[in-house]
């Protein structure tokens, strides 16, 4: 049984590797039969990537983008968790804020970005606000769901033993929300970094989005792809070395 399971696991891994190479191969074939400028070979893209890395440009812009992702992520999570808990616990808050939330959920990201730039100027703060506002409603919806499904029985235990308010919140209440917080964080990072690029493209003078805009002006597809690869790799690392460990920590008691 176990042996079989192991075998099928290996087999599935093999399929994954093969699929990756198939994609690579497919790309190379298309690149061969089409214009090298609009559809460059992966080899050339990687060469460009190395050049960009070696002159330091790429790391600077990558750093700027990550910084914006990080700040917006923190703000969106904190505000979203706070409001989500309020809305999940108090019906009046929920009734009052629900329509706002639906409205914000449905405003296109682009509109929020442009309005933010118009109202707050082409500034860093405007950029951060625009990104956060795009994410907050999603966080709220997820956390509210969690807050509604809180196990009151455990809170009664805190009440009986006259546990302090802070302890009650951080030990009895918040851990019940961890799965929801992690779900929100997961979806959050994925959405935020995509929006940050648009924000940079529209009104910042550095960051990956800005660079892609610049390359677009020169139809420099190789560089666009090089930056994309670099960025995707960074985000995958973030998932593996930040979100995954966080999730494992929060789930350590689920055997």
């Amino acid at each position: 049984m176990i042996n079989n399971k192991l075998k099928s696991k290996k087999y599935l891994f093999l399929i994954k590797v093969l699929s990756f190479f198939a994609l690579f191969l497919f790309w190379e074939i298309v690149s061969l039969i089409s214009n090298q400028n609009t559809f460059p070979s992966i080899i050339n893209v990687l060469k460009t990537l190395l050049i960009e890395i070696s002159d330091g440009e790429l790391f600077f812009h990558l750093g700027m983008t990550l910084y914006r992702v990080f700040i917006s992520f923190i703000i969106a999570m904190l505000v979203g968790i706070f409001v989500g808990i309020l809305m999940g616990n108090y019906r009046r808050f929920d009734a009052f804020l629900d329509s706002w939330n639906i409205l914000f959920l449905n405003i296109p990201a682009l509109v929020l970005i442009i309005l933010s730039y118009i109202w707050f100027g082409l500034t860093e703060i405007a950029a951060i606000i625009a990104v956060s506002l795009n994410k907050i409603p999603n966080v709220i919806v997820t956390i509210r769901e969690g807050a509604k499904s809180i196990d009151r029985n455990l809170l009664q235990v805190a009440l009986i033993y006259k546990v302090s308010k802070t302890k009650k919140f951080f030990v009895f209440y918040l851990p019940q929300l961890y799965p929801y917080i992690i779900a929100a964080a997961r979806g959050g990072i994925a959405l935020i970094w995509k929006i940050v690029l648009v924000v940079e493209l529209l009104g910042r003078s550095n960051g990956v989005g800005f660079k892609i805009h610049e390359f677009f002006q020169f139809f420099d597809i190789k560089s666009i792809l090089a930056y994309t690869i670099a960025f995707v790799v960074v985000m995958i690392f973030l998932e593996l070395f930040f979100l995954k460990p966080l999730e494992n920590y929060a789930r350590k008691w689920r055997i």
Binding site: V157, Y161, A250, K252, I255
Partner: protein, 255 residues
């Protein structure tokens, strides 16, 4: 260390869920005095409001007509209370030791109170285990340890040994009696098992069907330490059942 309780509940009324103008009276004119350090069991037909009574005493439910006083006038906030529920209500994200320590004061923690009680209960090898890794009986033991380590002046138990096999239940009953003998406290113990009640208590209160009131107040004069297989327990059980046949249906005897 222990407290006395004076219960005068004129009425406890629940609104009926579907029909707003209708109400359901769970308790009516229930008067009961429990003295310091007494082990008092409460027996009644299912749905007669035993849990409701405990919740009123514990302050989990504050909506009542009447009053419940401790130590001749103290408020609930001034006494240390413990409550063991039908299910263990442990925090799944804390290990055994943390689950007990979470309800302790700093002073109690410094005295290694949690470890002490946990070893008395034979759990010293499981301090780092999470509740999910323990059997139902062991979870109940941790819950008992948590309750007792908080050094309660009043200890409420709501059918705490239900849905355990008889052997495990007997072991826990013995543990409870040992703890209570070493560190006396006032106990209100809800059960529907007459044999259990006789084995454990100084006094048994029989409640009527809802709206519940006291229909029989029986002292248990069997010398401690008692043995489960003691004939006197069986004799008293039969005597109670004979004199008040319908006691389990909550019918008042016709004297």
């Amino acid at each position: 260390m222990a407290t006395s309780i004076k219960i005068n509940v004129n009425s406890k009324i629940f609104p009926t869920k579907d029909k707003e103008d209708q109400t359901y009276a769970a308790i009516k004119a229930l008067n009961l005095n429990i003295s310091k350090g007494e082990f008092c069991s409460v027996i009644g037909p299912s749905g007669c409001g035993k849990t409701t009574l405990l919740n009123l005493i514990a302050g989990l439910d504050k909506d009542l007509k009447g009053e419940i006083l401790f130590d001749g006038g103290k408020k609930l906030d001034d006494i240390r209370i413990a409550y063991m529920f039908q299910n263990s209500r442990l925090l799944p994200w804390l290990n055994v030791l943390e689950n007990v320590e979470v309800v302790l004061s700093r002073d109690q923690k410094l005295k290694h109170r949690a470890k002490e009680i946990l070893s008395v209960m034979g759990l010293e090898k499981f301090l780092k285990f999470y509740p999910n890794q323990l059997s139902g009986g062991m979870q109940r033991r941790v819950a008992l340890a948590r309750s007792y380590s908080s050094q309660p002046e009043l200890f409420l138990l709501d059918e705490p040994f239900i849905s355990l096999d008889e052997k495990m239940a007997n072991k826990l009953r013995e543990m409870l009696i040992n703890l209570w003998t070493n560190e006396p406290t006032t106990i209100v113990f809800v059960t529907h098992d007459l044999r259990e009640a006789i084995y454990l208590s100084d006094r048994i209160i029989f409640l009527s069907k809802a709206p519940s009131k006291v229909i029989l107040d029986k002292k248990v004069n069997i010398r401690r330490p008692r043995k489960l297989e003691d004939k006197k327990i069986e004799t008293l059980r039969e005597e109670i059942l004979k004199t008040t046949k319908d006691i389990f249906d909550g019918e008042e005897k016709n004297a």
